[in-house]
Amino acid sequence: MKTTIYLLLISLILSSCGSRFVVKEDSSDLQSNEGYLAFMINSIDNLTNIQLKHVENKDKFYVGSAYAGDNLYLLKVQEGEYCFIGFNSFGMIIDYEDKGFCTYVEAGELNYFSFFRIRNPITTSFSFYDYFVEKLQEQYPKICAKYIGQKCQS
């Protein structure tokens, strides 16, 4: 019984560590030095350990996993430059060696990074902004209406 409780606690702690920046509530507000970082990932295989890095304070963090198909991520982060540094997929560990895709997150804004199409061996980046707005409206309608406006009205 005790072992089960300890295992449950550990798994709860581990699961929360991976996604501390992911926005869970649709109505969360930003602090003065915070911005939203949004991006989409498309893959034909499941991705795990998607890792980003905050360039200014060198903080590395995970944003969880992605199932095969289209996945939208919305993170609430401090202002600064963020880069993809790696993930696991196709049975491999993909390590960008700090040279992955990077973008600057402005405070008080919804910063749409890109739509990443992950294939073996190349990851390509597209805009597909309208599709992103569609997905954002489905998952975070209030944030969509607040930052994008008319396009989010269903």
Partner: protein
Amino acid sequence: MKGVYLIFVLILACDASAIDIKKDCESPDLFFPYKAGIQAEKDNLIQQAFAIFCNLAFKGDYRAQFKLAQYYHQGIEDVVQQDQEVAYLWARLSNAYVISKKRTIFIEKIYQAFDAEKKQRLNKLALGLLQTIPTGARIDMQYKPIDYKKLWKQQKKKNEPKKQTWTNIKKRNN
């Protein structure tokens, strides 16, 4: 005629007083990430920030285009004169593809102040600009083009079975 003049003014609008800033703004070979402009703003180097945003705006960074719109809307001493028409055109361009509520409100605010004739003329100019200056990009880093042939060769080499040239047998020291 007025429309042609305004487009000409807009394209040369990033001409600032210092010779090296003009060179930075017009040069397509120099690379500045968007972050450099933000840092220049924070360090109160507004002339440099303006030059960086100008460089990025012509390359299609919608954030830099909106920054220029804000600069022209306010006017900055010794850097750029207040010009609501140019501000409106840059703002329209920045909001053409990546739409945001903030930019939409800004555009509507400036647009309301124009008379009917100006509105008509600026709308036509905005459509013309969309065809000449790109927008919708985020220029945060410089990408090198992928050499697919080289990549394919590297992948092929990785997948080749490696020939074992050594043995596991340790030699005894006699």
